[in-house]
């Protein structure tokens, strides 16, 4: 499927809502999906791998915050928020780089997408290191995503996500290497199967048709021949 960024954004947002994510979170996830697809990663797959959390998250640990069992769709934006807030506070106090230790992530790739969108809009610009020390890591800069550590990991599609999902450390810093211009493809390619699955999820957000709704829901008649 050839699509536009905006069309993918709308579909991903509706799919996220169809999966059960609240509005507000769904918007963030949709942006993460587009960020990944722009970089040739399987953004919709990352979204659909995630599962909404049903119980509140419980961070633990002194020093670096640790979270076990991360539902990236539900928790990812807030975890990155926490990282950024801590980073700002630490930077202002002249301290060192903050990090989060996450274990058992349901969709590490989605976390990278969320970090990518956070890097884009950070003020000042932020860079994230995902998976540092785990044998496979991703550097998510303002404009670029680079992967290292895993064998032949030039492409995110080959990234060792399974290993990374077991345990990952994520940290951020201000104004790292920009990685050059952000890619701005005008056409995106999404697999037909992914597209169809996302449409099915989005369909869950539509109210079933009925004659009553058809006649009264739009405030207009059925023909306009005047």
């Amino acid at each position: 499927m050839l699509t536009s960024q905006r069309e993918l954004l709308g579909l991903a947002s509706a799919a996220a809502t169809g999966m059960g994510y609240p509005y507000g979170i769904g918007d963030d996830l949709a942006r993460a999906v587009v960020w990944l697809v722009v970089r040739d990663a399987d953004g919709l797959g990352a979204l659909m791998t995630s599962t909404p959390r049903t119980e509140p998250i419980a961070p633990s640990g002194s020093g670096p915050v640790s979270v076990d069992g991360v539902h990236v769709g539900s928790d990812g934006s807030a975890l990155l928020d926490l990282l950024i807030a801590n980073h700002r506070a630490t930077r202002n106090a002249g301290g060192e780089r903050m990090s989060l230790r996450l274990r058992l992530l349901d969709s590490p790739l989605l976390l990278i997408g969320l970090a990518g969108t956070a890097a884009e809009i950070g003020d000042p610009a932020l860079d994230f290191l995902v998976g540092e020390g785990s044998g496979a890591s991703a550097s998510v800069a303002t404009s670029a995503l680079t992967v290292s550590g895993a064998a032949d990991a030039a492409l995110i599609g080959r990234f060792d996500l399974e290993a990374m999902g077991m345990a990952v450390e994520i940290s951020c810093r201000t104004g790292g290497p920009s990685g050059g211009e952000a890619p701005q493809p005008t056409r995106l390619i999404v697999g037909d199967d992914r597209w169809t699955a996302a449409e099915e999820l989005a369909h869950r957000t539509y109210v079933p048709a009925s004659e009553h709704s058809r006649h009264s829901g739009a405030g207009a008649g059925l023909t306009d021949n005047d």
Binding site: R6, R53, A78, L82, R187, A220, L222
Partner: protein, 565 residues
């Protein structure tokens, strides 16, 4: 002593005044409206519209291409006119066929492009489009006026003046899609072009070109029917005829989902108003212009009649208020210091429609002072969370900015009577009755006031540390992310939020539609219910010949059909 700078900086109307739904729903087009600024931009370039393809049969069906060079790029309207059975003619999203369909093409299309679009454009949402396709649209005939005009021209006559005046257009657009829909180009791909850096610029250009096509089409059919004897439309009619638009609920969510953009629209208009207030002495030309437009507005109001009882009552009141205003104001009154400030300051003696008409009217004589502001109306910024803010910050912002929402009792069924949804029936946006219909579990997030009230209640109930960061709170309560974004966005963008309970029984969605359409530059609001309206776009606007001739492209605020000399 009043200093003009006081007005510029300190007398922007307060957001709690400007952003009520009732006032937004009383808006009028201004010289800052998107259609007006487009006409000025085209005229500044002396843009010429050509018609490289006209492959329309004697019955009026076929395809045509109009090309205009604008801002260094060619843009082509590709138009398809197709036969449509009466029973299929509906302006709603549930439609599957239309009298005409259109694509604004980036550049000049080849024959292969035209063939591709001929297969796709008439299918609209059911088809897929490409990167060179910037805008997708369709339009249906005003059956009574279209056929009448063809018949009269074919008979060598002009159409009935009263019918032209009362209908005002030959076709109605029923959707104008941009920004990536169905595979068309993302706006991000062309928004930085000189000519396209204003909101909805490509959409507005498309609709203006469609208007030209509808006029060519009636003349063509008449000429085919009566070769050599058919008349062409009187230029007076050509100029007066606009393009209709039928608008339903699909337009409303945009105003909620683009708060920063909406803030910019309102901020620009209110800044323009403040600048005009700060004019201590109106020049003779400005005074004469205002008085002349006051007279034109009176005629326009007299020519604006609708079937909707609520709107007709408002029009009648407006006519009365406007007559009173004109009685009060003459050149001497305007010659006294601070004329516009005095007029605006005393306008609350009249109804909201009159107050907002005054706003639009006082902007008119001051193009040099305010037109440059239109360059500030765009924004691609999205609302963001400030994770470092504290709960105390959040609560201060809610208390300061959201009292209008916190005062609503959402436990009262009256205050949550409606819900907004998308039907699986062609994905048509609709409104339901929450306590009577199924589907409320799938409602769209237009219940901003309720969500912020719920957030506020949650913060109060938790009684947590005021120093806790928003980030930490969101980790526990991610469902409040949407509401927190709204609160933080409004704190930095005072005109970003419509201050109304959009799910209450008293909410009239039509006010949302009018608010947006007025910024487009629409006039003659003609509600068909409180969820649906027809309007006229480009009525009185220059036709392509006027633009190419370098004539006045800007004198069409509140158009009237002039009586022939």
């Amino acid at each position: 002593m009043i200093e003009p700078t006081d007005f510029v900086e300190d007398t922007l109307r307060a957001p709690e005044v400007v952003m009520t739904l009732e006032r937004l729903g009383s808006g009028f087009p201004t010289r800052l409206s998107f259609m007006r600024s487009l006409m000025r931009a085209l005229a500044a370039e002396g843009a010429e519209v050509t018609r490289p393809v006209w492959d329309i049969g004697h019955d009026g069906f076929g395809r045509a291409v109009y090309t205009v060079r604008f801002g260094g790029h060619d843009y082509s309207l590709v138009a398809f006119s197709t036969e449509l059975a009466d029973e299929e003619r509906t302006d709603r999203v549930i439609a599957t066929a239309w009298d005409s369909s259109y694509v604004l093409f980036d550049g000049q299309p080849t024959v292969a492009d035209l063939d591709r679009l001929e297969a796709a454009a008439p299918r609209q949402e059911a088809a897929r489009f490409e990167e060179a396709d910037l805008i997708l649209s369709r339009a249906n005939k005003s059956v009574r006026l279209f056929d009448h005009v063809v018949d009269r021209l074919a008979a060598g006559d002009q159409p009935d003046e009263e019918l032209v005046r009362s209908v005002g257009y030959l076709m109605r657009t029923t959707a104008v899609y941009g920004n990536g829909k169905f595979g068309i180009a993302d706006r991000a791909g062309y928004r930085d072009r000189t000519a396209m850096d204003h909101p909805f610029r490509a959409e507005m250009l498309t609709v203006w070109l469609i208007r030209g096509f509808t006029i060519d089409l009636v003349e063509h059919i008449a000429a085919q029917r009566s070769p050599g004897t058919a008349a062409v439309l009187d230029p007076r009619f050509k100029r007066f005829l606009g393009i209709g638009n039928a608008t339903g609920l699909g337009m409303a969510p945009f105003l909620i989902s683009h708060p920063i953009l909406i803030n910019n629209w309102l901020m620009v208009r209110e800044t323009a108003l403040a600048r005009v207030r700060a004019v201590e002495h109106a020049s003779p030309e400005e005074r004469a212009r205002f008085l002349a437009l006051g007279e034109r507005a009176a005629v326009h109001l007299a020519q604006w009649s609708v079937e909707d009882a609520i709107q007709m009552d408002r029009i009648v009141s407006l006519r009365r208020d406007w007559a009173e205003l004109r009685q009060m104001i003459d050149d001497g009154w305007l010659s006294e210091p601070w004329p516009w400030h005095r007029l605006l300051d005393g306008s609350d003696r009249w109804g909201l429609e009159c107050q907002e008409l005054i706003v639009a009217a006082v902007l008119e004589p001051h193009g040099e002072l305010i037109d440059g502001l239109t360059g500030c109306m765009s924004s691609s910024a999205e609302p963001r969370i400030d994770p470092s803010a504290t709960i105390a910050d959040l609560r201060v912002a809610i208390e300061r900015d959201w009292s209008w929402a916190l005062g609503v009792d959402f436990e009262d069924p009256h205050e949550s009577a409606q819900f907004w949804y998308v039907s699986e029936d062609n994905l048509e946006p609709r409104i339901g009755r929450r306590h009577e219909e199924p589907g409320a579990d799938l409602e769209r997030p237009l219940d901003v006031a309720r969500r912020v009230a719920a957030l506020n209640a949650e913060l109060a109930a938790e009684g947590g540390s005021p120093d806790e960061t928003v980030a930490a709170f969101l980790l526990r309560r991610p469902e409040h992310r949407y509401a927190i974004k709204r609160v933080q966005t409004l704190a930095g963008h005072p005109f970003s939020e419509i201050r109304a309970n959009l799910i209450g029984d008293d909410c009239r969605p039509i006010d949302l539609l009018r608010a947006k359409l007025a910024f487009f530059g629409a006039s003659k609001f003609d509600p068909k219910s409180d969820m649906w309206t027809r309007v006229t776009l480009y009525q009185g606007a220059p036709v392509p010949e006027d633009i190419a001739d370098g004539g006045d492209a800007d004198d069409w605020w509140l158009p009237i059909l002039e009586v022939p000399c």
